[in-house]
């Protein structure tokens, strides 16, 4: 029973490995992105539109600022969860 389960897991992992390695070979050559129109727009317009020298910061807080709000929310959620998990019980 236990061996059978392990065997299934190994087979699944092997199939996964074959597909993923095959797809990593099919990716565009490393260092030569096949398409970069969105990023080129950001590189050339970030200074003008957001006033920030750091293009990554301009992406994080301006172009994709909403993601950052979500990310801050994730951290807030985790902190709330951790404090809730370690709260002092009444009967402890």
């Amino acid at each position: 029973m236990k061996n059978a389960r392990n065997l299934i897991a190994v087979i699944a992992l092997a199939i996964c490995a074959v597909f993923l390695i095959f797809s990593s070979i099919m990716m565009h050559p490393f260092g030569k992105p096949s398409d970069s129109s969105m990023d080129d727009y950001i590189i050339s317009n970030a200074q003008n539109e957001t006033g920030a020298n750091n293009a990554v910061t301009s992406v994080v807080f301006d172009y994709r600022g909403f993601d950052t709000l979500g990310e801050a929310t994730v951290l807030f959620t985790a902190v709330a969860g951790v404090i809730m998990l370690f709260r002092r019980e009444k009967h402890e």
């Binding site: 750091n54 910061t57 301006d62 600022g65 929310t73 902190v79 951790v82």
Partner: protein
């Protein structure tokens, strides 16, 4: 966790301000150099964690209450979402300070330049509030876990 030796405590005492200043520098210069609110906040929080290791978690909890950290984090988060809300005259998250004559309103010259702190509009303010949030949040996680671990150890 009990207190560590006097040597460790002295060295952490003298290192602590430098870590703080470096973290705040990373936060404030997020729009000019690598870094930003999260990275700088993590640096400051790790400085606080250093004090936690050098002294004990009980000592830290005498200085800061966990509920105060929670409130500080809420304030940081509210600051961030309020900054996003301020632009709602145009759209949510609109960076209305860029190009104005107000705080951080300048636009840097195109291409490589030497960097001007007074640029980027809302971005430094957002960095600051996110930094506050990350400091409070990460330190709350580490401190609560350390406190619980030490409480569990004492019980045995």
């Amino acid at each position: 966790m009990s207190e560590m030796s006097k040597i460790v405590r002295t060295i952490s005492n003298s290192l602590f301000p430098f870590i703080m200043i470096y973290g705040l520098y990373v936060i404030m210069h997020g729009h000019l150099t690598p870094g930003g609110g999260f990275q700088g906040g993590a640096v400051v929080a790790s400085g606080c964690a250093l004090m936690l290791v050098a002294y004990s978690s009980e000592w830290v909890f005498k200085k800061v209450k966990e509920s105060n950290l929670s409130v500080l984090e809420s304030i940081g988060a509210i600051g961030f979402i309020s900054l996003a809300f301020l632009g709602i005259g145009v759209t949510f998250f609109y960076n209305f300070l860029v190009g104005s004559n107000l705080l951080f309103g300048e636009i840097p010259p195109a291409g490589p330049n030497t960097g001007n702190l007074n640029t980027a509009g809302l971005l430094p303010l957002m960095n600051l509030s996110v930094g506050l949030k990350v400091i409070a949040g990460l330190f709350a996680i580490v401190a609560v876990m350390a406190f619980v671990a030490s409480r569990g150890m004492r019980k045995k």
